[in-house]
Symmetry: C2
Subunit: 386 residues, 2 copies
């Protein structure tokens, strides 16, 4: 296509649903994509016009994959840093950059960076032996949270422990790679909030409205955009905080901050993600520009799109794998029951508890939207039959 030689190609490492939704966003803008997948049946591979099967931990596979892309981005945060450093040295544009990625690959690095900036985070400590937990408990109080510094996601690698005996049991688990154990105070939060920023290499940033997110068994369950009852003042503070972190870490692309809101209205930073995040899927239907489109625009240093709400409220509820191996029948039922549902399915093989899609719905009455979105998600999972 010599006529459109300047329309760039984005290489996406990882073939999950985030890659899939990036491809969907790329198509309407005529941005080209290619995906490095683990298998041809990966969610993104199923809709990709071009993909390669390869190992994201293998330098050769990544070098081959990156040879003809204008920029490299990620569906997940698991590509080893040493490999990314080598790719960067060979001239490949990696976005988000290494500074940002190193911070999310290791929770202790993240905590250290945020601590240095005097940002509010839960109390934490790296632990080598059980006695250190005892000391930490004496300075704080039970329960405590034990985490591995690397490799955790969706509730994996995180345990809430009530006492020293339980903690001992957890520490018997093997640590993968060069992960360490860390302990954190258990934050008695009122609710969880999340906010998403898109930032481009030349420093343009846009920030989405602050949303309320609810986890279930450590997995994102529902999101309400914007967060109900959050004062404009607090929302602005949280947005400023997120913009500040994005700048400090020199983030490029979409960046998510998950926070705990305390009873007194203060917030603590819980986690960061250097990519579009489940808590931002509402934006596909609820914002002028989705987090996926803005991620692509940001990593390509294109001007960013408006993050404004395009509805009073948009609710997102995750669809988890459950009873149905083939979801087509419940899918039809949900469409028939509620013509305003925006159902997104990722084409993934259904396994119990696996994220296989999400439902968005926009309107004014939060309770009504929540009940309709949860009904659809529960029906698709199979936990309800009417």
């Amino acid at each position: 296509m010599p006529n459109q030689s300047h329309f760039p190609t984005i290489g996406i490492v990882g073939g999950g649903q985030l890659a899939r939704m990036m491809i969907e966003a790329a198509s309407r803008l005529n941005l080209k994509t290619k995906v490095l997948c683990e298998s041809a049946s990966d969610s993104a591979a199923l809709i990709a016009s071009y993909f390669e099967v390869g190992d994201y931990k293998n330098l050769n596979d990544l070098e081959k994959f990156s040879s003809n892309v204008d920029v490299l981005t990620f569906d997940h945060e698991h590509v080893p840093l040493e490999i990314l450093k080598k790719l960067e040295k060979s001239g490949i544009k990696i976005r988000p950059g290494l500074k940002a990625l190193s911070c999310v690959q290791d929770k202790s690095v993240m905590r250290e960076v945020l601590g240095k900036e005097n940002l509010a985070i839960p109390k934490w400590k790296i632990i080598k032996e059980i006695s250190e937990i005892e000391t930490f408990a004496s300075e704080n109080s039970w329960p405590l949270v034990i985490k591995t510094t690397k490799g955790g996601y969706d509730g994996k690698g995180v345990w809430v422990v009530e006492n020293l005996e339980d903690a001992k049991e957890i520490l018997k688990n093997p640590l993968t790679n060069d992960a360490q154990w860390m302990v954190e105070e258990f934050v008695k939060f009122k609710r969880e909030l999340a906010v998403h920023v898109a930032r481009s290499p030349h420093g343009q940033s846009v920030v989405y409205p602050v949303v309320q997110s609810t986890q279930k068994n450590g997995v994102c369950d529902e999101v309400i955009a914007p967060a109900p009852g959050l004062s404009e003042e607090n929302a602005s503070k949280i947005q400023a905080l997120a913009l500040n972190i994005a700048q400090t870490l020199e983030v490029t692309g979409v960046f998510s901050v998950e926070l705990f809101e305390l009873e007194n209205g203060e917030v603590l930073i819980n986690e960061l993600a250097m990519r579009p995040h489940n808590s931002g899927h509402w934006s596909i239907d609820g914002a002028v520009t989705s987090q996926f489109e803005n991620h692509l625009r940001a990593i390509l240093d294109l001007p960013l799109g408006s993050p404004k709400l395009n509805a009073h409220t948009t609710v997102m509820v995750n669809i988890l794998g459950g009873k149905f191996e083939d979801m087509y029948k419940p899918f039809m039922h949900c469409m028939a029951r509620d013509p305003e549902l925006r159902i997104h399915l990722y084409g993934k093989q259904v396994k119990p508890g696996r994220k296989v899609g999400h439902v968005n719905i926009s309107g004014k009455n939060v309770e009504d939207l929540l009940s309709r979105a949860h009904h659809a998600a529960d029906y698709l999972t199979g936990t309800i039959t009417e």
Copy 2:
């Protein structure tokens, strides 16, 4: 993918932008698509996970292509009816069906069907020789419209003639295939309107709001959804008319009616299209369910999505090929100038006057939206430089 065996595969004949936007809509619903293209550089082929290159006028190519699809649909209306009849006989589901397709492949058939239903259409007549135009002119008045009954689109195959001499010149053009000449009264309309219906084989229909559409040189230029200043009563009448035609012609899929609104508020039917139409592209960003998604839902006999507006007003302006062979720089400029623009590019080779994309923008102030959308389209075409 044995786990999702009931998610159907849609075969799309033709690789233009309508096919491309169908694929985009299919992806989020996990509906599979394959495309029969003329070339691997066709708009839809560029983003398709699967396509075949073949000739839509060749029965063998179509049989091979259709062998493993659940339903066959179309990017254009040019597949010969005899071929479709043979495919249907061999058990392939063709949607829209033959009755509807025969009506849009031949403008005289369309006029006859609408006339039989006593629907308001411009006065018309098939003509074999120039004397018949003279007679028609004496019963009506100059100017008149001369059309070929088959093969016209985007202003091609349509001429406005001021006098008999001009008409004679037009009739010197060769007629393709089994097309005939027809003459029509020149309607002095106030404006053009369009309305879109999705109808499924089991008879569920939804109708979109009536929009105002403006042509330039016979090509759709801008669309305003909903049509400004149209009374609720007239809008309902037009919607009922479209639903009625859809039922009469047993349409399946999205169906478009283009109308002339006269000074006295009455409407005449101008054209029908048995597929998503340029005048419905606003729905991608301006309706709860886009015309492309509802087309897919309709041809698969899935429950239809809500056609409701999701913004006060959405404006669509076409981007035509112009000065820039490579549109990336003006594309960046437009993004920077207006972060609320929804730019859609089709990946087509840029040729002067060719439809290469469209811009949508939603808001409240129609004049403001029109000026912003036209600015972007003009800038991308290259007719303005600021």
